[in-house]
């Protein structure tokens, strides 16, 4: 089979082009280093199946960060028919350097100058014929985001594939030797790129006057985070209520009549196990879609790089840098890709410390638990503040953790980060991103959440003659055993079972609670409100926030960190901290008479 790889500097639109070309769902965002691993898809080009590979971005052929190593290993081991080099047309003054280096790889090149729209707005004129002649490879201008000249790009791709039917491996020598290309680069740029003498201030320049203002910058950042929270909370909770209502009615109208004649055990398994467990989790679908929509807007706007600029002074005092904080923000969606995102850091210690703090980020799975419990136990006026407080606490605890462990993970990595222009996401992109998040959530709900719910049902119902979730069941006995740990932090046995399953993934917690209390989403909130006082609820929330987010996070830290001490630390430290914080909270609250 033929193979084509997309090569280029970070943030040049490789993944955008890849998605448009193959219809695949590579993650896209206006941040250098969104793609940190290989992604491939197969399509029909020039009458043949072709494997297209989307690579992470590289600044040169000699980089040593993990994402750059991925590219290097790929090129060293996988032969290709063609390398498609994607450059940002408005930054050719530096990006053409990669074209000169890539020529040394000895593999046919097709050069696509992306973001033609931005280059045109800046008044940059590019002489593609001269570039073709000087580089000896075909060159095309296009806009992958808007699809402009996409046909011409594909045509060039097919022509190049026909011209180079044989697979070829890159010449490894190119990674070793350092070319002195400065002269050649200057000549190339001066002969092919024509720039107006004075570029007037752009929209980005004017926006940054405000967003990066010396003393307004941070307040604006806090305001933006608060607005995001308000949007997700304000729109998400009524939607979730609607889903609860819907599932409650479906249960009464369809499920109950359908299972009425089944034997008692099977009926309980289907209604109180599968249906209650899963439907409770599924009520969060709109919130999740909304949340990832908001995340996609932020990620694609270009604001994240500004955040790194704004917070670096503070983060450097914690032994981290501005990028680490951006990873924490990405972690609010899901911790796993955020941990993968640390691949752009070269210092192992900086990466390790960042990986240690990311799991404190209140991810969307924990958000589900918190939304459910806060709206159940607290009044509508208090609930959003409790949730907001948990967000703030998650950042504070991450910073505290960095402060405590920075001595062990000392790093001196220079911060060097591009500040891309602000960009507006297209509607097509936003739909695509939230659809992807929704699918992932559903896949989870269809897979491990079902398994978790079934297991919880079994534990709380076996032996079958015992009272469900009573002391005689497996769950009851397990809970007895856990009592010395959870009693001091005010949590009763049944809650401990839910937390135990939460170790695997937080999405299971609410489903598990539904099964444990044998209640659908609509009644569960009332039951929780009557069983938990606000101190217990708070303790449950604090513990859930701080302890292990999920098994995948731990697995990712293990795989990325390749250091068992870090893995152990990233499990043990949050567990200790969670218990300590909950214990202190409960004891102080009780002593104060609550």
């Amino acid at each position: 089979m033929k193979r084509v790889a997309l090569l280029g500097m970070p943030n040049t639109g490789k993944s955008t082009f890849f998605n448009r070309l193959t219809g695949a769902g590579a993650r896209v965002g206006n941040w250098p280093g969104i793609t940190v691993d290989l992604l491939s898809a197969r399509i029909l080009l020039a009458g043949q199946m072709v494997e297209v590979v989307d690579l992470p971005g590289i600044y040169n052929l000699h980089g040593f960060s993990e994402d750059e190593q991925v590219v290097r290993r790929f090129l060293e081991t996988q032969p290709v028919n063609l390398l498609v080099l994607i450059l940002n047309a408005s930054q050719l003054d530096r990006q053409l350097a990669l074209a000169l280096q890539a020529r040394q790889l000895g593999v046919p090149l097709l050069i696509l100058l992306n973001m033609a729209d931005e280059a045109r707005k800046l008044g940059i004129a590019i002489d593609t014929d001269t570039l073709e002649r000087m580089l000896g490879s075909p060159v095309r201008l296009m806009s992958a985001k808007f699809g402009t000249h996409h046909r011409e790009a594909i045509q060039a791709l097919e022509d190049a594939l026909r011209a180079h039917p044989e697979l070829r491996r890159a010449d490894a020598q190119a990674f070793r030797e350092d070319l002195h290309i400065e002269r050649a680069l200057d000549r190339l740029v001066s002969e092919s790129v024509h720039t107006p003498v004075q570029i007037p201030p752009t929209v980005t320049d004017r926006l940054d006057q405000v967003m990066l203002h010396p003393w307004l910058g941070i307040p604006i950042l806090l305001l933006i985070l608060f607005a995001l929270f308000q949007t997700v909370y304000g729109l998400g909770t009524p939607l979730q209520d609607g889903m609860e209502w819907l599932f409650g009615h479906l249960r009464a109208a369809l499920l109950e009549p359908a299972v009425a004649d089944l034997p008692r055990g099977l009926r309980s398994f289907l209604a109180e196990g599968l249906y209650d467990g899963l439907s409770t989790v599924l009520t969060f679908l709109p919130v999740i879609a909304l949340f990832f929509l908001a995340m996609a807007i932020v990620e694609d706007s270009g604001y994240l790089a500004r955040v790194a600029f704004l917070v670096d002074a503070l983060m450097s005092r914690l032994g981290l840098d501005g990028r680490a904080f951006v990873m924490q923000l990405m972690g609010f969606g899901c911790n796993v890709p955020a941990i993968m995102g640390t691949r752009i850091m070269r210092s192992r210690n900086l990466r390790a410390l960042t990986m240690l703090v990311i799991p404190f980020s209140l991810c969307s799975a924990r958000l589900q638990v918190f939304l459910f419990i806060t709206t159940a136990v607290f009044t509508p006026t208090v609930a959003p503040f409790v949730l907001l407080g948990l967000y703030v606490l998650s950042i504070v605890l991450a910073m505290l953790t960095a402060l405590l462990w920075r001595g062990r993970y000392v790093s001196h990595e220079p911060l060097l980060l591009e500040l891309p222009p602000y960009r507006l996401p297209t509607a097509r992109f936003l739909l695509h991103e939230s659809w992807r998040a929704t699918l992932q959530f559903l896949r989870g709900a269809g897979g491990f959440i079902v398994l978790g719910v079934i297991l919880v049902w079994f534990l709380t119902h076996y032996p079958f003659e015992a009272q469900p979730a009573g002391p005689a069941t497996l769950a009851g006995r397990l809970a007895d055993w856990l009592e010395p740990v959870f009693a001091p932090i005010g949590l009763d046995n049944l809650l401990a079972i839910a937390l135990l399953f939460g170790f695997v993934a937080k999405e299971i917690v609410i489903g598990a609670l539904a099964v444990i209390y044998s209640a659908g989403p609509d009644q569960l909130q009332a039951i929780l409100a009557s069983r938990l006082d606000s101190v217990q609820a708070m303790s449950f929330l604090l513990f859930t926030l701080i302890y292990t987010p999920c098994l995948s996070t731990i697995a990712t830290i293990r795989q990325e960190g390749r250091d068992w001490r870090l893995t152990v630390l990233s499990v043990a430290w949050p567990l200790l901290l969670a218990w300590g914080v909950s214990f202190t909270f409960v004891q102080v609250a009780r002593a104060l008479g609550y």
Binding site: M9, Y59, N60, H62, G63, F64, S90, Q91, D93, R94, A97, L98, L122, I124, D178, E182, D186, T195, V197, Q198, I199, D208, L212, P214, W215, G217, A305, A308, F309, L310, D312, A313, L314, S316, G322, P414, L415, L416, L417, E418, L419
Partner: protein
């Protein structure tokens, strides 16, 4: 004492003279456009000794003051010209 990027007054156009950094760092900086002969300008400085925003050619980058102090520059005497 040569002038370094970290001392260059905000807004003053200058040319990069030399990078006093290790090889790997130098390559990475070159990848972002920061190499001898390029026009640079400090756009803004973040408070509390935070990083600098620097425009080099058509790219804006951020870097810390300690790293900027390893980059030697000469102010441009001619009329400010943006590359």
């Amino acid at each position: 004492m040569p002038l370094t990027l970290s001392d260059l007054p905000t807004g003053m156009p200058a040319t990069v003279l030399a990078l006093h950094v290790g090889m790997e760092q130098g390559r990475r900086m070159a990848g972002m456009g920061l190499r001898p002969g390029m026009h640079v300008r400090v756009i803004r400085r973040s408070p509390f000794s935070g990083p600098l925003q620097v425009r080099v050619g058509h790219t804006d980058i951020i870097l810390r003051r300690s790293d900027a102090s390893r980059i030697e520059v000469v102010p441009e005497t001619r009329q400010p010209v943006q590359a």
